[in-house]
Amino acid sequence: MTMSLQSTPGATQPNWLDKIGAGHIFLGIALVLYPLVASDFFLTQIGGYSLIFGMLGLSLMMLAGYGGMVSLAQITVAGIAAYCIAIFGDNNSHLLGFGWPWWIAAPVAILIAAIASSLIGWISVRTEGIYTIMITLAIATATFYFAQQNYAIFNGHSGYAGVRAPAFWGVNWRDPKPFYYLCLGFSVLAYASILYGSRSTFGLTLQAIRDNPRRMRALGFNVTAHKVFAWFLAGITGGMAGVLLVWFNGRVSPGTIGVDAAIDVLIIAVIGGLRHPIGPFLGALVVVLMQTFAIDLVGAERFNTLIGLVFLVIVFISPDGILGLWAKFKPNFSQESLRPGL
């Protein structure tokens, strides 16, 4: 093979530092050093919470940005993982609670969430566009009401409380610093996997199906199977977020998976931008900061109005969300981000 096969002609084989990129290295160092300057409140309520919801937004970004399937059921998938942790592990709600160790309960919870996600995908892939949004909203709403009214498994509207994050290696992982690093580790894993995967064979098939499913069939691809597999992968990401969420809150109830929360995930992904996996994390940070501090700025009566207005302004100025705003100030970034998956 000659050098002409290289995507950057004339350049030597890039080393791993170049591959990761200066932006990622800088961001990584900042995130690792963040606990040195942040209070416990900023570590968990802002940092950890943003990372968890960033992962949820990421699972939506993968489906919507690469696959063209907008889902409102990502919080439902996370909620299934959260309920599984409460049921398979320990809780103090005097219902179920099998007492499995975390290293069995967490993987099984994530797997069940991914299978549930595949099922939701399998139901909704027959639809397109706004009908996918409608059918996933219907599934999210139905799951919410089912959880609220079912006492045998979901413990009704009170749900499960007293779920504890694991403690091992002499570390209680619910303590602020360990929990922040736990969220950061899972987020980096999900982010890097999806960024890498966007240029994988499957990542390319997903983007091609988004652009033209009919042609993909005429190239020998089973479009339905590829879409359902995308839902499975998104379910793993969503399931990981759900496990962290229940460890963080210590409880899970129908309110966790309500329609409000489902819409929050959509807002996070849209505010951040669907073109690149970093978008949902930016969106999550903005939304979490607003939800935390808007109440101090404008009082309890009007804080949702402020959040709504900021959402409107961002989408009005830049339909591509924060990523699009960024691109306006850095033209070379915009050109780069046009390439799917960077």
Binding site: F202, Q207, A208, D211, R214, M216, R217, A218, F221
Partner: protein, 261 residues
Amino acid sequence: MAENDMASPLQGPGAYALELDGVARHFGALVALSGINMRIAAGERRAVLGSNGAGKTTLFNAVTGDFLPTAGRIRFFGEDITDLPPHERIRRGLRRTYQISQLFKGLSVLDSIFLACRGVSRRRFSLLRPRLNDVNRVQAESILHAVHLDSDRDALVATLSHGQQRQLEIALALAGAPRFILFDEPAAGLSPTERRDLVAILNGLPKHIGYVIIEHDLDVALRVSEYVSMMHNGRLFKEGTPQEIEADPEVQEIYLGGKHG
């Protein structure tokens, strides 16, 4: 019988690349296709002519499974494919291009052709990035060269000119090991130079690859085909060699817009 099986047109059921028996397609009360019977030998190159609305593209859609026929059977190299989903037909060696380009605007040219090669290969679900020496990638590079898109290999499909998009349409149909290709107006909107390139590409295809071509430009259609089927109002109404068809007064009446009338 030392002859290559696929090249000998007269033996067994597999001798025909494509057999249509009474294929019909209705859209409600509208009859788009009715009672189409067709035998096309392996390696044969056939043109399908007819005015707009004659049912040519509907015929292609029935063969590839984009839209299923409402009646009739379709056999591909002897195998009944009437009930197979489109992707299964493609994996058996059928290919097609579209009259209106059906491409992936967010992908690069090379990635598009790579997917076309991977679609009829293995590891379609691979979560790994294809390596530079991946067999499907190497195939894609050579197809890229064959359709003269080398200099646009990394360009986004959305940025290609109309002519380049038509070339990419053809590139996608050449991927893998096609046995039979359906070309739907490949010359639509091409310049005279591009048309000459197209004729060269079609005539340069390996002899065992047969095709059906829908083409309004008789200069192209009659130079790249051995046999011609005329369609009118959803029916096949005349077949013959390019010379016979060109000379037929009835054909001129219908297809050439009544040249002599």
